[in-house]
């Protein structure tokens, strides 16, 4: 009978052998690379953090310096052309006019004066993270000369510089708060899910209590408790703590759920049957296998913290000067009169939306890559 068998050509054999040799991490990475929105979000996040890290170097001006001659100046345009042809990029000087009757100041471009925009121009002196002093900025027109690409605020401070420096606070608070609440949340979530019983009950009750309050009002109340005499940097840490204190519950719940599902997985049961201690099971088996989920949960939690901080600062209960953040910058726009006259004051809001969108896309991409079968 076997002699009659004619093995037909089989092309699929070779192909099947090349798959299935990727590690879990490589698989996630490969799936993530296919998620276009996720990759785009990741790039934007990276770009934002590079920008705020470079901070004072990117900022053309000292963000605290008040140019009293240029209060509420609209955004200036960078020109290449003038009547007499093509130039090195430059900005025009500014002519100020004051209407005595309406009391409205108007600014016009002064065609007679041109300030060329140079890379690595000298400007205000600053200390780069306490490492060295310098006065080099990425772009500039020279110290004291105007170049306000996004306009100025009510004290004549450069919006672009303030947005960059404010972004450092907004984006760092998001990271720090997620780090603290994630530490707290994974510890309590894993304990809650792994041990169950009374401990679980107690932790769940505490989380329930946090969720019983509407989030923004309880955040407001807690930050209002921070002593008013605290300096800026202590308030910063205080806000981080408040955000983390209110935010860990949700993370703990998700991690508890994951722990519950993994606890009964065969490899965990096998480790327990083999007599591994709880600590070993948690640190060697549970946490490593949840690592990708924890990253996803963290990424998706950051936008909430950024929005929370911006709301608090906007309401005057968060970051306090001389520090600034996107939310605090926006509080200048709360007055409807200045909002309608100086709409560029809303620009920090655009940054908030971009940052939150980017984190959300990145988180969605990571989630789909880490867990392709759960759509939510």
């Amino acid at each position: 009978m076997s002699s009659a068998v004619q093995t037909p050509p089989d092309a699929s054999v070779e192909e099947t052998t090349t798959t299935a040799t990727y590690s879990q991490r490589e698989l996630i990475w490969r799936r993530f690379k296919k998620h276009r929105a996720g990759v785009a979000g990741g790039c934007v996040v990276l770009f934002l953090y590079v920008c705020v890290f470079l901070g004072e170097f990117l900022a053309p001006h000292d963000p605290a310096h008040r140019y009293y001659n240029y209060v509420h100046l609209p955004a200036q345009r960078v020109h290449i052309f003038s009547e007499d042809g093509i130039h090195w990029p430059f900005v025009y000087g500014i002519k100020k006019a004051f209407d005595r009757q309406t009391g409205i100041k108007t600014y016009t471009e002064d065609a007679a004066v041109r300030y060329p925009v140079y890379p690595f121009a000298r400007g205000a002196e600053y200390t780069f993270y306490g490492l060295f002093r310098t006065d080099i900025h990425l772009l500039g027109t020279g110290k004291g000369n105007p170049m306000f690409l996004l306009g100025t605020d009510r004290f004549g401070r450069d919006m672009l510089s303030r947005i960059i420096v404010g972004g450092r606070v907004s984006l760092t608070i998001g990271l720090l708060a997620v780090f603290i609440s994630l530490t707290l949340g994974s510890a309590l979530g894993v304990i809650s899910g792994y041990y169950g019983g009374h401990v679980d009950n107690l932790i769940q009750r505490v989380i329930e209590l946090i969720f019983a309050f509407p989030s923004i009002p309880i955040l407001m109340a807690l930050s209002a408790i921070l002593p008013p005499e605290w300096p800026s940097h202590l308030v910063f840490m205080g806000i981080v703590t408040v955000l983390a204190l209110v935010g860990w519950g949700g993370l703990a719940r998700e991690i508890r759920g994951k722990t519950l599902s993994i606890r009964e997985a065969d490899f965990v049961l096998a480790a327990r049957v083999a007599g591994a201690k709880d600590r070993r099971v948690i640190f060697r088996h549970l946490l490593p296998s949840m690592f990708s989920h924890i990253i996803v949960i963290a990424t998706l939690a950051i936008p909430g913290f950024i929005l929370g901080e911006s709301t608090l600062s906007f309401l005057g209960l968060g970051i306090k000067p001389p520090m600034t953040s996107w939310g605090l910058l926006l509080s200048d726009a709360m007055n409807i009169h200045s909002l309608s006259l100086y709409p560029w004051l809303l620009l920090p809001g655009v940054c908030i939306i971009i940052a939150v969108l980017a984190f959300n896309f990145l988180g969605d991409g990571l989630r789909d890559a880490a867990d392709p079968y759960s759509s939510r």
Binding site: M1, A4, V5, Q6, P8, D10, A11, S12
Partner: protein
Amino acid sequence: MTQPLLDIRDLKTYFYTDDGIVRAVDGVSLSIVPQKTLGVVGESGCGKSITAFSTMRLIPSPPGKIENGQILFRKNPDSDPIDLTQLNPKGAQMRGIRGNDIAMIFQEPMTSLSPVHTVGNQIGEAIRLHQNADKTEARERAIDALNKVRLPRPDRQVDAYPHELSGGMRQRAMIAMALSCNPNLLIADEPTTALDVTVQSQILDLMRQLQSDIGMAIMLITHDLGVVASMADYVAVMYLGKIVEYSDTRTIFKNPRHPYTKGLLNSIPQVGHKRRLVPIEGAIPDPFEIPQGCAFAPRCPHATRQCRETPQLLEIESGHHVSCWLEKRET
């Protein structure tokens, strides 16, 4: 010979996916005579369910599409046949046939009923839709239908939710729903696969009994040859979207001709026969890479060079069709 109730001619249903075209049903022809049962047998993925869903015009589109063929259905023996492939799947005429003239039951009694509506509501809905009954009448007839499928205490179960019934009871309720409008054709897609063995035989008994009461034809889709042997009058064996053998049940079991049919029969145990079970070598190929020619050739112990060309489905004796080059050689 009586006019067939359902006559499927050269049906081709393809799925256009991102990864390529799946020829789920690729030139199937079969017919069903009134009041008889046709068993459609094959491994999972062979296209038997897609044939059934094509008949009901319930193929999700996109990605699915009926590419070719006719599905001729006679509402009653004297009327002209309607080609179901020409109807709008969402149109009134097709909806009037579904549930009324052709009814269908599914494999998973757990999920085939809505969890948030009572059994009576779901059965009565079809009655109200097709028979112009009002609410109370529909309820009466739903109780009646539950009684016919021998559900205990139908006047109470009519208000039960599916999760309050066992799997077997749910399948009875499904059958009650399917038969509530006295259809001419019942398509049963693996009706007993998800049930316990004892419940299986009860459900099969019930279907046989109701068939003789109502006088409907059944298209019974299954991978279980035992079910076919006990239920079907005719059998169509399908492999990768094509019918490979087609005959009356007795012939199929006594004188199988296609190597695949033989393989299927050799791989099931039989009471009283002590013999080795012989599995079919290999596995069903990737649906995107169906081999040229006879699709079964890579797994066939008798395959030859000739099998690279597609064999025709030929009538080798009265009513017995086989699609295999072996037959050509012998005749």
